[in-house]
Symmetry: C2
Subunit: 402 residues, 2 copies
């Protein structure tokens, strides 16, 4: 019993956390409940029940299956379902008619053959990457409806009525879902994508800021270790960016279905977002490599290294500012201000001064002891990764301007 209590408490904490992290989840759940209850009214009202009969069930089914978190996904699924039912219904009626002409023996054979061919063909079509991304559900429903209509037609001769009923109930279910989903606190996939891109930029910026402020600093301020807990999370934040590709592509696919809304009054360049996401991930890979060098046993800086460190800190902080500014510009959908450009310029200047310093300092360097070169390597690596990151941020900035 104690274990059970612990488990219940655990689930409750988890539920609480999920709800707090994104209150729209709770709203979404209530919206689904509302839509299903509304559609159920078709069963309660006598006259409607008479005209639709058991088919009214399809309306409930449509709501349950089609009602997704974002408006775009709901629209896409509803459209897929409606179109697939329409096309499959037409083809099913045609196949049934054709089979009817072939007499008692030919009929089941022909229908079996049709079902076999259509099912195999559309299953294969689902492997096409483009179809998988946007019409996967449609093809599923197509197979379902086609086999259902052409087979059931073999029994009852009221297929046309059946097809008509199915379409009507699906239309009712679909439009109820769509209305509730898009009118009561709508969640737009386009906006989600937009925000996630901005958030990812800010996460990378946060890492670079922390990197510049903590790991590259001289060890004098180690008393500040009490803030470690906070910093830890900002250092791990970028990791979610590494695997963001899938989520972003899904969001972009959903967003394509959405009409203009809110900030995106006109058709929006989702491909641009995908590209931007790719660049951000590229930058995140560099940061992951950088993170590998952040071991706590970093040596205290010799004088020579200290100067490199200073330049590195500057690069890191300026790149961080660039990314953060770009992120907040995207969030606000404003054209990036000139201050972003200023940060890019100053980070490039820092890179230049670092390389200059390295060029000129080889003479200074020779005066020091011989295993210095070995000690430079990590910091040199960090430096060139940072230079690479500056490149990345520049590309990201260019991409943002478009």
């Amino acid at each position: 019993p104690e274990k059970l209590v612990a488990k219940v408490v655990g689930v409750a904490t988890m539920a609480n956390k999920l709800a707090r992290d994104d209150p729209r989840r709770v709203v979404h759940s209530f919206k689904v409940g509302l839509a299903i209850t509304l559609v159920s009214l078709f069963y309660y009202f006598q006259p409607l029940y008479k005209s639709f009969g058991v088919s009214a069930m399809w309306a409930v089914m449509t709501v349950v299956v089609v009602f997704e978190f974002t408006v775009g996904a709901t629209l896409g699924k509803g459209f897929n379902r409606a179109m697939a039912t329409l096309i499959a219904g037409g083809l099913g009626v045609g196949a049934h008619h054709l089979a009817n002409l072939c007499g008692k023996i030919g009929e089941p054979v022909l229908i079996g053959l049709f079902v076999y061919i259509f099912a195999a063909a559309s299953t294969f079509m689902r492997f096409f990457p483009k179809i998988k991304a946007r019409y996967d559900y449609g093809f599923l429903i197509f197979i379902l409806t086609f086999s259902f209509i052409s087979i059931s037609g073999y029994r009852a001769d009221e297929i046309l009525e059946l097809a008509h009923k199915r379409l009507t109930t699906i239309a009712i279910g679909g439009s109820v879902s769509l209305l509730i989903n898009s009118l009561i606190f709508p969640v737009w996939a386009g906006e989600e994508l937009h925000n996630s891109i901005a958030l990812n930029m800010e996460k990378l910026g946060l890492f670079l800021e922390g990197f510049g402020a903590k790991y590259l600093k001289t060890t004098e301020d180690e008393t500040n270790n009490s803030k470690d807990g906070n910093n830890k999370s900002s250092f791990q934040g970028y990791k979610s960016v590494l695997n963001s590709k899938n989520v972003e592509e899904n969001m972009a696919n959903f967003a394509r279905w959405e009409p203009g809304h809110g900030k995106f009054r006109y058709h929006h360049p989702w491909n641009q977002y995908i590209k931007l996401g790719g660049l951000i991930r590229q930058c995140a890979y560099r940061i992951d490599a950088l993170n590998a060098f952040c071991k706590p046993d970093i040596q205290k800086p010799q004088k020579f290294q200290e100067e490199i460190r200073e330049a590195c800190t500057k690069i890191s902080l300026e790149s961080s500012k660039t990314l953060k500014k770009l992120g907040s510009c995207i969030r606000a959908t404003t054209y990036p201000s000139s201050s972003v450009n200023a940060h890019i310029v100053s980070s490039k200047a820092a890179v230049k001064s670092l390389t200059c310093f390295l060029t000129s300092s080889s003479s200074i360097y020779t005066t020091q002891n011989s295993d210095e070169l070995l000690q430079i390597i990590p910091i040199a690596t960090i430096a060139s990764l940072l230079i690479d990151i500056v490149d990345c941020t520049e590309k990201i900035a260019e991409c943002t301007y478009d």
Copy 2:
């Protein structure tokens, strides 16, 4: 019309490519066709039709929805569907019974309330990450069946019979799918995961081999550029590893449903595979950073750099061999042989000799001209990334031993 022809040809080429890349896709399509046609027999045979009636449709539906590419996914979905229908059916009957006791007015209100609460609650449950990964489909079917049964119960009084019919038809559809899927050329998710892990290792190995052989070599053999086409693809191969997380996690989730089979007679440590996949990806991130330095305008090596290059080539080639050997060991499910260990040892030796060389050579170095230091930086970065990769391969090897 010409555009249409071009489009048709394009689609045909694409289909051909998809089929050639993985012939199991074609087999899968035919399996789906077979399963659906088989289940359709329920409609053809008079006596069966009499006992099941329109419910036989549920069997077709189950096949279409449940029949997935891998055995694990089919099993998981079938299990979800059956369990959800059973539980929701029981609860639905209970809810209907309870509502019946409340009189004419209370009945619809109570049923509406039940549907609302259950729909909202299970929609929210689907946000739990663990439930989303394994039982998402089950919760969908739960909402569907529960609302369907408790609502339709309000109309007809034969719910128990309805629930019974649904369960039987689902069981028939599910078992037909399962039998066909697992007996005719089965595709096991566990094996897919296993092979994809091995393939990813080999891809990384291939990159490092190409990197060692091409970019680190002195420019004397530039006549071999005719092989560029082949090399290009081996250099891009690792990119698919970067975003492999999602696929691997799905496969592992499916694999959990699968019973012991073939090479995996006993329960298999899928978590180990996930961990291994994570390490491989980490290594791939380093390689991506490395790839950024592979610009064609790499300078001709000075004498000093040449020696570093030699060590780097060695590290790169040895790591490549380690990864490739580990990959083929995994593929064959044999315990990694001692030769893998030998490669790790020799790559570590190369790292050591590189660091030794760097330590001792600073005196040599001082004799050269002053902007040498700047030129070392890229090669030093490459070196330390490679050292990091050696670390990664070692971890991968350790993980493979478990």
